[in-house]
Symmetry: C2
Subunit: 388 residues, 2 copies
């Protein structure tokens, strides 16, 4: 119908399977793009290629274009986004603009038949997520949300340790993620309506991990936000503590904070023992898993590695093999619907019930991909959230 | 008036200061009395003496009386409780009967002008606690609640690490306490109205620690209980997860469970670092503290020790010096009012606001007292909660 007609009227820009390289444009050249996304392409060169850069900042375009060998004619301001997408220059975009712009940039890419790899949170509202899913489906492109830990060994081994039954029945998940955001102008500290706040930025890790270790969706959630009045937290929460009820009467608690010294961990407590990851959510440092059964504790350290190259490589595999990615739009939406419910609970002081949510595929160790660590990166016109 | 008249009409049974020994009767000879309270008197002999035993079980009285040198004429069934109290045989009782009987046994002791050291939780309801406080005041006796960790080095050093400002402003407290209660007939698994359930038995440790590290009383609390349907949890919760808002917008989360493998810990996250205790709430094993500031982590282990002798010795000091104990009736009541609010929240699905609560004294390192560990104890007619 309208959908089929639309699809038919477009020319697919998907690369031929024989070319074996997906050409990416990176949209947004902020801190994370500079320290993690751009350098990752060197480790994903088997099937992926950095082809174009998008930013409103000419100096970022110039310096980073030079650094990564993207020539001037493939560096674009946002005003030329559609033109660049239509030109056939890129097969996929990696969207790393602020959270409240994800929908717009994803939908415009999908409409140009360009595949979309989008940073998490997928978007700010459920409606935005649904628009993105619809746009990808209607235009026959793949949509993946950049859950780097779905390809990371420490987290996937924690998943397997729980799945194996080693700790018995998993009953409790407990997590804390503190990221001391020192720069008052950092976008993370923007209003919650624009995707600022602890849950969209770091609470999403605690939540996503609760979902992948329990392999289920929460049924009821409750949250309490607090704010110590520091001017940094004028527009968003300083921290939010959450309780989630999962099927089979399992409980998860987590606290996400922008105001305490940086630290992150989670533990799954089962009927026979526990699995802990600490650090749990690093993107460029080593992580540590401890499995405790009775009095015996086994510790395993995971060397630091590039976590972005694996997801780029995996997304390219999905595009080239015409397969649905595991952390797809439904995965991104699953988190956003819980985060919006948590903030609603914090605002109203009431627990929020969530309807059933179909979700079959979950991350498993088979998804693990390894890439060597990325070194230090000089920053262009941007500061780290910690103000370093 | 009535109160003064009452007080005047009684003969004080407080020991003279010169005698320097407070004579105790232990009321209730269950598991904890047998493995911890009775053997502790050997380490508290400086100012305390085990003089009488109370139980409904003749074999417990006989065997334990023999073991601890309490002759037959000082072993009593509960039917002779008042008679024994009136006899002038004991200066104080250590009450270790089931939680819902604390009020009755404490009030009867107070009326006989016998000092009261009572296991925690102080009682099941706020009203019961108030009755106990009133009875002690009206009869001029001391009332202490047996918070063993108020005299224990690891916890008091954690308190000092937070108080010192080492970790900056404390912002978040997070704790988990799992105690896998295997015996379905264990009293801990009784109905909440009778003081069964996770919060009265183990959640109280998480709560009490939150209160002594934050040195404040919660203003609003929320809880979610869960129950996996195991027949063990027919009368009480399997587990309960809690969120508490403290003054200065600090948040505490904790989960207490009878259904997961035994484990306990807490962490205080501050603006500059964190303090963790794990294990945190042991009564007869070593404990470990980790203080993390930036990338530096310092670990300190505390040898296992007898934690009951110190509280008996401290209570005797208070009696002999006519001083109010720090963990007094107001301290016990402070926890019980929060626990009842938490269970009310779990039942109604609503956060519960708590009124202001005056509480000036808090545990400090000056209260620390050391005693060597207690060895293995053969049990008489009783099982450990874990079924060992």
């Amino acid at each position: 119908m309208a959908r089929a007609a639309k699809r038919g009227s477009k020319t697919s820009k998907a690369p031929s399977k024989s070319s074996k390289k997906v050409r990416y444009g990176v949209v947004g050249l902020g801190w994370f793009a500079q320290v993690a996304i751009l350098p990752a392409f060197a480790h994903a060169r088997k099937n992926s290629e950095l082809t174009a850069l998008f930013s409103e900042d000419p100096e970022k375009l110039r310096k980073l274009g030079k650094k990564y060998g993207v020539p001037p004619e493939r560096r674009f301001g946002y005003d030329r986004y559609d033109e660049a997408l239509q030109s056939g220059l890129v097969d996929a975009v990696y969207i790393a603009v602020p959270n409240h712009l994800h929908r717009e940039y994803a939908v415009r890419a999908a409409k140009a038949r360009v595949h979309v790899l989008c940073e998490k949170p997928m978007a700010v509202t459920v409606e935005e997520c649904e628009d993105m899913i619809d746009a990808a489906e209607e235009n026959g492109v793949r949509l993946m949300i950049a859950y780097r830990l779905h390809f990371e060994k420490a987290n996937l081994e924690a998943v397997e340790a729980v799945r194996s039954g080693k700790i018995g029945e998993p009953r409790i998940y407990d997590s804390v993620f503190c990221n001391d955001v020192e720069d008052p102008d950092n976008i993370r500290l923007g209003p919650i309506e624009k995707g600022g706040g602890t849950l969209y930025d770091i609470g999403i890790y605690c939540l996503n991990a609760a979902r992948y270790v329990f392999r289920a969706e929460p049924q009821e959630v409750f949250a309490v936000s607090a704010n110590n009045g520091d001017p940094r937290f004028e527009e968003c929460d300083e921290m939010t503590a959450c309780v989630l009820r999962f099927p089979d009467e399992r409980l998860a608690t987590f606290t996400a904070s922008f105001g305490a010294a940086s630290s992150h961990r989670y533990t799954v407590f089962g009927t026979e023992g526990s699995v802990r990851l600490e650090p749990a959510f690093e993107f460029a440092e080593s992580m540590k898993m401890r499995v405790k059964i009775g009095e015996k504790e086994r510790e395993k350290e995971f060397d630091k590695r590039d976590q972005i190259a694996p997801e780029i490589q995996y997304f390219s595999e999905c595009i080239l093999a015409d397969r649905e990615p595991e952390p797809n739009g439904r995965e991104g939406l699953a988190d956003v619907r819980v985060i919006t419910a948590l903030y609603e609970s914090a605002r109203t002081g009431r627990p929020i019930r969530l309807g059933p949510y179909e979700k079959r595929r979950r991350p498993t160790l088979e998804q693990e991909r390894h890439a060597p660590p990325v070194g230090h990166q000089d920053l262009v016109h941007v500061d780290a959230p910690s103000g370093e």
